[in-house]
Structures are given as C-alpha cells and as structure tokens.
C-alpha cells in the first residue's frame, strides 16, 4: 500500500435535512488514479465539492499529508495544491488561455498590480506544452474546441503544481482522440507522482484507467478495492444495489417494409453532401460518426432547423414541402436534441408544462387557439406514467429538480404527447447513469415496437450496436457505410467512420473517434 | 391559503373603490358622520385658505423667480400653498391638479406645460367649481374659464430682436457687409422655445436686406448640447455678427464659447457680437449693465404674479367658482437704448437689488 496523500474520515453532509453523505471515509494514495463511481445522486459530486473546498462537511475531517485540511473555498484548496476540474468547464470564454490559467494569481511586475504579460505567456506556454495543447497562450478560449478547453483546465492544475487533481466526468464532451490524449496525460501525471480522482459513468474508461475504485450509493461507500477486483457487472451491482441482467433491453420490434423516412441526395455546401438514408416502420436506425462528422448538422437539416441546397426529404412517402420545424412536427417527426438542458427543457418550469409544449397547438381550440388545460394534464399524466418519470407532482416540481435520466424522459415525453411516428434522438444517454440509460433504451425500443421509426445519433458504438437494427456511418459530411444488425462489428464501423477519404492524409490525421 | 387571503384583500379593495366611486348621496339626506363636525366648524372659525400651485418645472432662474414670487406672496397673506412640480409632463400636471381638487383647495394656479394642456386642466377645475388661474403661458383657446396672466413670447422676442436688428443695420451701414445672425433654439417640444424662435424669424424676415442666411443652433434646453453645438456653429461660421438666444440661462454657455474666440466683447468693440435673449434674469441684467448684451426680452414676472393673485383672491372672496378674466402682460424689451427708464422693471434687476448687487 502506497503513501496516503489525502484521507477523508467519516465525512457527513446533509442539505436541508436530507443526507447526501453519511460517514464516508476514503483515502487517496500518492501516484494513483482513484475511480469514483455511483449513480447520479449517490454523492460523488458532493464529496468532491467538499474536497475541492466548494462545500464544507457537517462532520468528519480530512487529512492532507497527515495534516488537518479544512478548505473554506476553492482558493484554499488550490493553495493546498488540490485542483478540481468540473464537468462543466470553469473557463471564461472571453479571456485568453494564459489569463484563464493565471486568473487568480497573475504574474505581476514588482508586486504592483500590473500583469507581466510576457512572463504570464511564458509560464502559460510551458503549462500548455506539458499537456500537449498546441496554440499560442494568448488565444481566446472561445476559439478552442471542448477538448482543448479541458486541456487548459489541466494546464491550470499543472501551473499550480497540484498534487491531487479531481476530474468530474471529463470525457462527456470530448472526441475520442481528445479522450485518448486525456488518458495519456493522466498516465503521465501518475508517473510524476500526482494523485488523480476520476469520476465517470463510462465504466470501461474506469476499468482502463484507474488503479482503485470506490463505489458510492445513497451517500455510503458500498465497495472499495483495486480495479482488478471489479468487473463491469460487479461495479453495476454495487452502484445500483441489484443485479442488472442486461445493459440493453431485449429487442422485440418488428421492422416492416414501409419506409417512414427517406432522405435523397441531401446536400448543403460545406456541411453535408449527397446524403441518402431511410428508416422503416418499427426500425431503430443508428447514425454513427466522428465528432464533427456532420451527424448533428444532418439531423438539424432533416428536422428543418437548418436549410439545405439540394435533394429531397420524404416522410411517409410524401415529399416534405417546407423544410421547417413546424412542418416536421406536423408530419409526425420528433427531435430529442443532444443538449437537453439548453435545447430541450425549460428548467424553471414544471414537468407538466415541459410535457405540454409540443402538443399545445394540437390540443388547442381552432378558434383563437385556446389551450385545453385539462386534456393536456390528462395526457401528460398518462405519458409520465408510461415513461415512469420519477418526480414529485408533475404540475408542481420544476424540471431542473429532476435527475438527468428523468429529464431526458421528460424531453422524450413531450414529443410523445403528439404521438409522432418518426423520432430523431441525438445522444440520448449523455451524462446519465447506468440505470437511467437502460430505461432510455427501453423507451426507444418501445417506440419502435409501436411502429415508429427511430433515428439514434450517438458517439458510443456499443450503445448503437445494442439498440439498433441498422447503423449508418458518417464521415466528413457523407454517409460512408451502412451496417446491418448481422454485420455489427466495432472494427467495421470504425473503418467506415475513418472514412473512405483515408487516402487523404489530412483526413486521417484529423479523424477522431468517440467511443 | 395565501391565495385565499389575497383574493379577500382584492375583493375588499374593489369594494372600497366601487363604494367610493358611487355617486355621493345628497349630503342633506344622509350626512356622513365625519362631515358634520367639519360643516359645523366652517362658519365658526375663519378657515385658512388653501391654494394649489402647480408648475411645470423649475429648471431656469425665470421659473424659480416666478415660483418664489407666487408662493411667498401667498404665504405672506397667510394662505396655505400646496405645491406640485410636473417635471415638464402635461399629463402629470393634470393628475396633480386632480389631486389638488380631491383635497378641496380653494383655488388652483398653474404654470402649464403648454396652452393646450391648460385648457384640459382648466376644464377639470371648472367642473369641480374651483377658481382656476393660468400663469405665464396662455391657454390655447377659451373653452375653459380661467384667470389668465400672460405675456406673448413671440411679441416680446420680436421686440428685443427689433432693437438688435437696428444695431445690425448700423453695422451694415458702416461696413457695407451683411450681418450673419445666429439663433439658439430651445427644446422643440417646448412651445415657449418655438414661440421665441418665431419672434426672431419674424423680425429677420422683415430685415432680410441687412442679414445673410441665419444659422440655427439646437440646444434642447440642455447646457451641454448648447455648448457643443454653439462651438461647432461658431467654428463653421466665423463671421457671426448677431446672436439671439431663446433663454438667458444659456449666457454662461455663450460666454464660455465666445470668450476663447475673442468675441465676448463689449458694445462698441469691433469684435462685439450683437446679442440678445429672452427672460430677463439676473445674469442678463448684469451683462447689460456691463455692456455685453444689447437687448433682453422681458416678461414682467412680478406684474403677472400680482395680476393672477389679486384676481384669484378676489374671485375666492366673491365666491366665484369659475372666474374668467384675461390679463395681458404686455412685456417689453430692455435695450441699451431704454435702460434708463426701464431697467428696474426687469425682474432680474429687482432680484439683484434685493441681493444688494444694485
């Protein structure tokens, strides 16, 4: 057993009387990667916020190098060389890379409050070089990709010489290549004797990356041990407290011959070219592609949130006359967007209200379009039951109070209110935990069983292989392959994803796969 | 519970409103309990008169002096004055007068924002049966019965400008060159400003033979705007020979523009610009004494105040509810030519005398 850097002893924390953590004790050794897993609400974030100084524990204490460690705020934690990289990056997009790295402790000239820019950029350059970020230190953050921004956060941890670095769900918005790079950097950090606390829902990453794992459930540690002592099943068992037979629900849908959707030669200069794709009644069709391959853009075009230059869209055999969202909805298309907080929900409003918005115009009176509140409420209650949305009274609890999985169900539910026949689902399980994922998969499966055509966009190959009947693969704005269920194979799909443009060196260089 | 409580409150409020708005029963039939002592009191004790004074604003010395003249005279007579400042909002003034009517004042004097609002406000006073007086700005028609004491901006401005044109003619005859006039126009939303501008233009049209095209400088009655625009105008037109300004309060601004250009000179100096403005405040008085300013259009503020107050008190005494009388303040132009006889009739000079400056 290595040397303990950080030890948490009997930490408890309650919010307004509700226990978030009770008597949690964990330790972090020097030079190890400690994985922390658990469902949403298990207390992972609370625990890390306590370590990072954002929250203070109600009871229990922490030891850093065997000295009492009581951070009152982020700055205290930073001063003790503990860095916390949040899931939602904490960067100011209107400032430069260097400024973000030194935001709290600018290098000054002779202690007068005048920033020594040359020194700052030099130090920043060193820090970002160490994490493999290649851009001038005076680049604005808004010009960087998500992955690059994450590297800036790590560089920040570097520059403060952090000994313990906490990563909270770092890969949710990273491309595969960026993820790979992140893992390499984490490996390097470990080599240098830094300790890493790594929180993730992606259990395969945890397995690959960590030395030791702590499993949390309902504010308690339910399991702890070396990574090799766990397998995925035992991790899930400890997380949800029961066995989960399958990660994916059983497929029962029947694919008919009727084409619900057909895209013919859809082209928009610079975005997508010559897209041909179709989906049958009762079919779940996956669309896989690298980050930036144009999958989300294609879905936006299909749904009418963006225009296209040539080609045609047929829905149930009928040509789509006007390419607008309104028209799509009219013809029975639903779009569950990838960013549910920003594009899917009205966080401040109630679940009922969120469920009612899509159907509202349909259920309104023809004259002056008055809303029929009782009909909407009945329908919403039915949907909420059908999807098993866990919330308080739907007319009272705000959408923001729900867990990620339930929020996703609300987003799907609001579309169900109009009983659409074609579903576009973009990254349906991003940032939600294992149990909730299964439920979302089941919902998708059931939709297909009821005869809908479902287009699922995802960057997780396994997920698509688990729930789809057919997978299209996109690369650089084109469809490069289509794989049927019997041919599902990681390698094949990836090969298509790297594109037939592989002869182009640039293309392969820039290609990035998300796992 | 909360909801119920607020609904109850609302119902109560509206009940109060509706009962309050309902036509009042005849006092004889059902005298309100609190009305009895008041009614009994009235004949016994000499009731203190209450007069409401609603003015549009106190932004310049002119209005301050007018306000002071009225308020102090009333107070000296033992009359209670209720003041309202409308901040240049005619509608607000109407609301304030209605407030005053609600307080059952004995008389209402206003300095209206403009003639049209004076009519509307007057009609409100008439129907409430409260004597109504208008000070300084005439109502635009006689629909409302009112005591009116006013001067005509166009006429008095023209009077001052006539003197300036005379001076300009002298210059023209001496040099043979046409004089370039400049006019500083006030806020275009203010009828006084427009009237004064009109007075200038009337005289200008009559004397086109000695004037070149005139320069307009918008001031919006704002010192900073006036400063910036006058500077620009003076830089663009270096040969301005006559300056007419809508109000005396801008003299400090004019001075700070002309002085660095070497054009702030006394009469007689070859660089002197023939200058005149409207109001007749202390600054103007001083500048005329010193010989910088040629003419000032004066509204006889104190005279107007006296006219309106006597009229009002007479009416109240007689028990007239809607007195009607039009009292003209002829106004005059104080010029360098008539300084001897007219000087002390200008209210600015009277103020200076009070202060011991004269």
């Amino acid at each position: 057993m290595g040397e303990n850097i950080l030890a948490l002893r009997n930490i408890s924390k309650a919010f307004y009387g509700i226990k978030a953590l009770s008597d949690v004790s964990i330790r972090v050794e020097k030079g190890e990667v400690l994985g922390i897993i658990g469902e949403n609400g298990a207390g992972k974030s609370t625990l890390m916020n306590i370590v990072g100084g954002v929250l203070q524990p109600d009871s229990g204490d922490m030891l850093l190098y065997d000295q009492p460690y009581k951070p009152k705020n982020t700055m205290d934690a930073n001063a003790s060389k503990i860095a916390f990289i949040h899931q939602e990056l904490n960067l100011c997009n209107n400032l430069t890379v260097a400024e973000n790295i030194f935001l709290i402790d600018f290098p000054k000239i002779n202690k007068i409050p005048y920033i020594n820019k040359r020194e700052m950029n030099r130090l920043a350059h060193e820090a970002i070089k160490a994490v493999g970020l290649q851009c001038p230190p005076d680049t604005l953050i808004e010009k960087l990709s998500q992955g690059e921004r994450q590297l800036v956060e790590i560089a920040k941890a570097f520059s403060m010489d952090a000994q313990v670095i906490i990563f909270d769900e770092p890969t949710t918005s990273l491309t595969a290549r960026e993820t790979e790079r992140l893992f390499k950097i984490i490996g390097d950090l470990k080599q240098k004797g830094r300790s890493i606390i790594y929180i993730s829902h992606i259990l395969s990453d945890i397995q690959k990356l960590t030395d030791r794992i702590v499993v949390l459930r309902d504010g308690n540690v339910t399991a702890e041990g070396t990574t090799s002592s766990f397998n995925i099943d035992s991790m899930i068992f400890n997380m949800i407290g029961r066995d989960m037979k399958h990660i994916y629900p059983e497929r029962k849908n029947v694919v008919s011959d009727e084409k619900k959707v057909e895209l013919v030669n859809i082209t928009k200069k610079g975005i997508v070219s010559n897209i041909n794709l179709h989906a049958h009644e009762g079919e779940v069709v996956g669309i896989f592609g690298l980050m930036g391959s144009g999958r989300t853009e294609l879905m936006h075009i299909f749904f009418g949130l963006d225009s296209f230059e040539s080609g045609e869209i047929k829905i149930k055999g009928k040509l789509k006359s006007k390419n607008t969202a309104v028209q799509s909805i009219k013809q029975g298309v639903a779009f569950v967007t990838e960013n549910r907080r920003e594009e899917g929900l009205m966080l401040e409003m109630t679940v009922l209200e969120n469920l009612s918005f899509v159907a509202m115009p349909n259920l309104a009176s023809r004259f002056l379009r008055f809303i029929d509140k009782s009909r909407i409420a009945d329908k919403a209650a039915a949907i909420s039951q059908r999807l098993r949305i866990k919330s308080g009274a739907i007319e009272k609890s705000a959408a923001k109070s729900l867990s990620g999985g339930n929020q996703q169900k609300v987003v799907i539910g609001k579309w169900l209110m109009t009983s659409p026949e074609i579903f576009i689902v973009d990254e349906p399980t991003r940032g939600i935990d294992v149990g909730a994922k299964f439920e979302v998969y089941s919902v998708i499966n059931n939709l297909a069983c009821d005869g809908a055509a479902v287009l699922v966009v995802s960057s997780e190959i396994e997920e698509l292989m688990g729930i789809c009947d057919r997978i299209y693969v996109m690369s650089r704005g084109e469809i490069t392959g289509c794989v049927g269920q019997d041919e599902f194979d990681r390698e094949t799909i990836l090969r298509y994803a790297f594109g037939q443009c592989a002869f182009n060196k640039n293309a392969s260089h820039e290609s990035e796969v998300q796992q | 519970m909360k909801r119920a409580l607020s609904i109850v409150m609302l119902v109560v409020m509206f009940a109060v409103l509706v009962t309050a708005c309902a036509p009042k029963p005849e006092p004889a039939a059902a005298p309100a309990p609190e009305a009895t002592p008041a009614a009994a009191e009235q004949p016994a004790a000499e009731k203190k008169l209450k007069i409401a004074f609603a003015y549009q604003d106190l932004e310049t010395e002119f209005w301050v002096a007018g306000h002071k003249a009225i308020v102090e005279t009333l107070k000296a007579k033992g009359i209670e004055v209720i003041e309202f400042n409308a901040n240049e909002d005619a509608n607000k003034q109407l609301e304030q007068v209605n407030d005053a009517i609600a307080q059952k004042v004995d008389g209402i004097i206003i300095i209206p924002q403009d003639g049209e609002s004076a009519v509307a406000i007057g009609e409100a006073c008439n129907s409430a049966g409260i004597p109504f007086g208008v000070f300084n700005r005439p109502p635009s028609n006689k629909d409302a019965k009112a005591l009116v004491a006013v001067a005509d901006n166009v006429t008095i401005s023209a009077k001052a400008m006539e003197h300036m044109a005379l001076e300009a003619r002298k210059v023209f005859e001496k040099t043979g060159k046409k004089v370039k006039p400049l006019v500083m126009v006030g806020d275009l939303g203010d009828p006084n400003a427009v009237g004064r501008y009109q007075g200038f233009k009337n005289v200008y049209e009559k004397n086109k033979d000695i004037f070149t095209e005139y320069i307009e400088v918008p001031t919006k009655w704002d010192s900073n705007t006036a400063l910036a625009n006058l500077k620009s105008a003076m830089a663009a037109n270096k040969d301005v020979g006559l300056l007419f300004c809508g109000s005396d309060f801008l003299y400090p601004v004019i001075k700070s523009v002309l002085e660095p250009l070497g054009k702030w000179q006394k009469i007689g100096d070859p660089n002197h610009i023939i200058m005149g403005a409207v109001d007749g405040d202390m600054t103007a008085g001083k500048l005329m004494d010193e010989g910088y300013v040629d003419a000032t259009a004066v509204q006889d503020l104190y005279y107007e105040a006296e006219l309106i107050l006597t009229g009002m008190l007479e009416a109240i005494e007689k028990g007239e509810k809607t007195p009607e009388k039009w009292m003209d303040d002829p106004g005059f132009a104080l010029t360098q030519a008539n300084m001897g006889e007219m000087k002390m009739r200008m209210w600015g000079n009277k103020l200076r005398q009070e202060k011991g400056e004269l």
């Binding site: 100011c92 409050p113 920033i115 704005g477 | 705007t225 400063l227």
Partner: protein, 334 residues
Amino acid sequence: MNNNNKANMSAFALKLLKNIPLLLFILVFVVFGLITPVFFEWDNIENILTSSSYIGIVAIGMTLVLLTGGIDLSVGSLMFLSASSAGLLIRNFGFPIWLAIVSAIVIGLLVGAFHAFCINKLKLVPFIVTLSTLVALKGLTLMLTKSVAVEWPSAITGMASRRLLGFIPLPVFIFIVIIILVQLMLKSTPLGRHIYAVGYNSEVAAKAGIDHIKIIAVVYILCSVLAAIGGIISVTQLGIVNAGYGEGEEFKAIAAAVLGGTSLSGGVGSVFPGVVIGTLLIQVVQAGLVYLQVDIYMQPIITAGIILLAILLDSLRTMLEKRLERRNITKSCE
C-alpha cells in the same frame, strides 16, 4: 476555387465589419468634411474632442458596469449632484477648489458604494436600484440647490480653456488620462481581467475563486466616481449648473458604450477604441449636422438613423462571424 474566393471575401467583409464603429466614424467625418471643408480644421476637431470628453468619461464608467452585465441609470443625476454640490461648497462654504472637487468625487464614491450595497447585499436588480437613485439623487440635488442655478467661480471655467502642451485642452487631457488608466486597468491588471471574467459568467468566476462581490462593488463605485468627474469636467466648460442638468445623460452614455461594441449582457467591450469611438461618432454627427445647417427638426431623426445603421452593421458582423465559425465538414480535397 470558387468556394475559396467566397470564404476569403467573407473573411475580408468580417475584418471590415469588425471595425464598423471606426469605419463609420471615418466615413461620417470624411463625408461632412467634403461637404464643408472647415470641418477638417483643427478648431473643429478640438471642439469635437472637448465636447466628447465629459460624456466619454461617463461612458467609460458605464462600460465598466455593462462589462459585468449590469447597468447604471443614475449617472445623469449623479453628474448633477456632484457638479452642484462642488459648486455650492465653493460658493457657500469657501472650500478651495481642489477640496470641493475631491468632495464631489467622494460623493460619487458614496453613491457607488450605495449601489454596490443594494446589489450585493440586498440582491436587488441593478436596473431598479439605479432607477431609484436616478429619481432620488435628482430630488436631493434640487433640495440642496433649491432649484437655483449654481455658478462656479471663473477660475474653473478658465481651466477648461487652458491648453496643455500648447494644444490639448484640459478636459481632453483628463479624458485621455482616464482612457489610458482605464484601458490599462482593464487590459493589464488582475482587477480588469476579473471584470471581464465576472461579466462572462459570475458563477464561473466565483468558482474559479474570484471575489465577484468585490468586483461588482468596484465597478459600480468606479462608474459613479467617473460620472462625478464627468459632471465636473462638463461644468468647467459651462461654468454653471442648471436644474435640468444631466437629464438623459444616462442614455447618451449607454448609446456611446454600445456603439463602441460593448454588449449589454456583459463580458464584451473595450474602452479604446470601443467607447472612445462610440462617443466621438455621436459628437461628430451632432457637430456635422450643425455645420451643414440641416433643418433642426431633421437633426435628431438623422442622428437616430446613423445610430441605427451602426448597430445594424454590428449585428450583421456578429451574424456573419457565427456563420463563418461553422466548421467546413465536407472534404475540400475534391
């Protein structure tokens, strides 16, 4: 190839549009100058600079507040208060001029501190807080002055026409000093960078360890102090403070700041060239219309039109920028 050309052209258009306030400023200036050549004379340029100085100083303060996503509607009333109280202190209490000016600035500081208190501690919306002080400060000043104009000693009005280095009028000099100081503060001090950080997202800034409460306080205090200074600078030119003084200056300052590219939602904006150009643009238009002797009824209509054009072009820039930012996905190799 065709595609490339197009991309280049939009990049060029973007570059042009990025400097819209500056370009528009130059355009307007040149057009006016071509019509009336006297417009190019130093006298006029000096006039424009002097007239811009006070509102420019106020607009700089406003920019600081806007950078944090707030707003200060009270600057006009505060100018009135500071200028009047300094004048009264000199005239009625025999304060030396410097002390009176310092007192006026202290008054600004107190008002700013009051704003900061209400916004930080009472958690009130800046719009409402400063709206209330807009009304209250005006009342306070009228109470102090009894609505009578306050005259400043001529020694001060003389100051305005004093030239430094033989050609820079004092107000312009102070304006330039403030531009340099605030520019340095914003670009090169931790405080300045923190203002941008808080403006981008105060939660992010707080998580990163910035004391955003302090930043908000500093910004409102600075804005009020600059408004007080602006008030004094303006009176050194006017020599007198009337009761209507300062009305509507808040909108002038906001317009100048926004014309200079400052965003009302915070985090974006600059003092130089930004606000400075914004202020000068408005003054140049105002002066030009007087030079050209445009019908006085038409002048405000034209001014509004030019401002509309400026913000319209700025919006087009943002839209174009967004479009160009979208990555080219399809292969360009074919």
